[in-house]
């Protein structure tokens, strides 16, 4: 039978333990980049996490010892009761961290979604799929063209359009595939890229020998798989392709809230599509055409490496780049990423 001796002391300790556990979680989130448990954004200001944690511990301890000083020095709850109170405090702290982090990330995503307002392409139909076409204003001679495949249910779709604007500025035609249910259906999804390249090849403004594909997340897996069979693509860029399913766990909280991560991991369609596209087995067939693999250094949602079998082709066809300070979801939003892709495509088309 549990006996807490003083109700006030037990409740006070529960509150104190919650604050200490919350502080420990914030330190862990700063040190291990766990955005899903970070109550504030520490990515640019890690010191803020340490200051908050110290404040929680010092403030909590001061409050507890001042209010409970007399009771602390009389026989109180035994070890088992204290362990139970700490366990409850830790659970409360974890709950608070997950909820506050989810709210913070939701607001952050909401402000990011506003950038989709600059989607101004010309709508085109591609069989079951559809897309948005971006053309440079000056059209003197046939130009290189790039198909852009977004992440399937992941990332900011608006970023693909920002990339399209960058490509157009470099006198390239860009076709952004709209994210729709057909992109999730296998094998129908395999027809998307051939349909897009066929459409582009027929346009007089496009040089059919200078076609490339860029895919993000599972879109990266799709372009790798499609390019392995579709030899018309002269260059392929895969941004944070999944290639191999990563093991679930806390790593998923590095960029997502708890619920988002749970939904992401339990998305059976996505997991099935990773296996069906099997980019891992098909990537090697792109050689000798150039392949750009681009990852964020803090990416915990993808394998973040090219399988060693791909490198056994005897020549240097893969460009593997890692961008410091970026994760999986924010990779496409960063100017460094956009400049890297545009520069790489410009040199190869």
């Amino acid at each position: 039978m549990l006996y807490f001796v003083y109700k006030e002391l037990a409740l006070g300790y529960l509150f104190f333990a919650s604050l200490c556990a919350l502080a420990a979680l914030q330190i862990a989130s700063v040190r291990n980049r766990l955005a899903g448990v970070a109550v504030l954004d520490y990515s640019q200001r890690p010191w803020l996490g340490y200051v908050l944690s110290c404040g929680l511990i010092v403030g909590g301890a001061a409050w507890f010892f001042v209010t409970q000083w007399e009771r602390i020095f009389t026989p109180g709850p035994a070890g088992s009761e204290l362990a139970l109170l700490f366990g409850a405090g830790a659970a409360i702290a974890l709950g608070i961290s997950l909820v506050l982090a989810a709210l913070r990330l939701h607001l952050k995503h909401k402000s990011g979604a506003a950038s989709e307002s600059h989607i101004q392409g010309q709508p085109v139909g591609l069989g079951r799929a559809s897309g948005q076409l971006y053309m440079p204003a000056e059209r003197t001679e046939p130009m290189a063209a790039v198909c852009l495949v977004p992440g399937l249910g992941t990332g900011n779709w608006g970023s693909m359009h920002t990339l399209a604007h960058h490509l157009v500025a470099q006198r390239m035609v860009a076709l952004v595939i709209n994210p729709g249910a057909e992109l999730y259906s296998y094998p129908e999804t395999l027809a998307t890229l051939p349909a897009a390249t066929a459409y582009l090849s027929k346009r007089p403004e496009v040089d059919p020998n200078r076609l490339a594909a860029v895919g993000f997340d599972l879109g990266g897996d799709l372009v790798i798989r499609a390019a392995s069979a579709h030899k018309q693509l002269a260059a392929v860029a895969a941004l944070a392709p999944i290639v191999r399913e990563v093991s679930p766990g806390l790593g998923l909280l590095s960029e997502m809230s708890y619920l988002e991560a749970l939904r992401w991991w339990r998305d059976e369609r996505r997991a099935r599509l990773v296996a069906q596209l099997s980019a891992h087995d098909y990537g090697g067939k792109i050689a000798p055409r150039p392949l750009l693999l681009l990852y964020g250094a803090n990416d915990r949602l993808s394998a973040s490496m090219s399988p060693p079998e791909w490198d056994d082709q005897g020549y240097d066809w893969i460009t593997h780049k890692v961008i410091e300070g970026l994760g999986h979801l924010d990779l496409l939003d960063h100017p460094t990423t956009l400049n890297t892709i545009v520069q790489w495509l410009k040199e190869r088309l």
């Binding site: 602390i72 026989p75 362990a83 806390l250």
Partner: protein, 192 residues
């Protein structure tokens, strides 16, 4: 016994001289300050690790520490049934900075808990282990200055704690499977 008493009187002699020093010792000796730190560090450790492998190692440290604590408590309870040693303040005039505990003085339960957590964690994560050793050492020292334990009580408690952790980590290898199962389950909930 003479060395025990000499050391205790030397350390307890530090109490009652300065109000500030007594306050610090009372903050360290109670059941809520260092004991909370001794569990907060492993709690934070559960969520720490640069890679999945490192994090799993830390999580095994936490599970080992919790089991070691259980084993150490069993040892302490068994010893308490076999042997009762009165608290030092019962037979000597001391500067007592704590309340009068009524259970056996030997072995020191807080020392056994502190050192078993520190040792179990130390096997997996040296830095966190050393931090916990410092905390456990401070708790043991504060118990001596406060006059609630003999040095041999704290030493005995520390040895029981360390032996329990060694037993857990080195001899109870079959629990590894249980740790793997727990970590996998927690991982599927995205909490490990």
């Amino acid at each position: 016994m003479t060395i025990d008493w000499t050391l205790l009187s030397l350390l307890n002699g530090l109490a009652g001289r300065s109000a500030a020093f007594d306050l610090v010792v009372r903050l360290l000796v109670n059941d809520y300050a260092i004991t909370t730190a001794l569990v907060v560090v492993p709690f934070g450790l559960w969520f720490s690790g640069a890679s999945t492998q490192q994090r799993e190692r830390n999580q095994r440290a936490v599970l080992s520490a919790a089991t070691s604590m259980f084993i150490a408590n069993l040892f302490v309870k068994a010893l308490n049934l076999l042997y009762y040693r009165p608290r030092p303040f019962a037979g000597h005039d001391l500067n007592l900075l704590f309340y009068h505990p009524s259970d056996s003085s030997f072995p020191s339960n807080p020392a056994s808990v502190g050192f078993c957590i520190a040792t179990a964690v130390w096997f997996f994560n040296r830095t966190a282990g050393w931090i916990l050793y410092v905390l456990a050492g401070l708790l043991g020292l504060a118990r001596l200055i406060s006059g609630v334990h003999y040095p041999s009580d704290v030493l005995g408690g520390a040895l029981i704690g360390m032996l329990s952790a060694c037993l857990m980590v080195k001899k109870l290898g079959f629990l590894e499977r249980l740790w793997t199962f727990i970590i996998r389950r927690m991982r599927s909930l995205l909490l490990a």
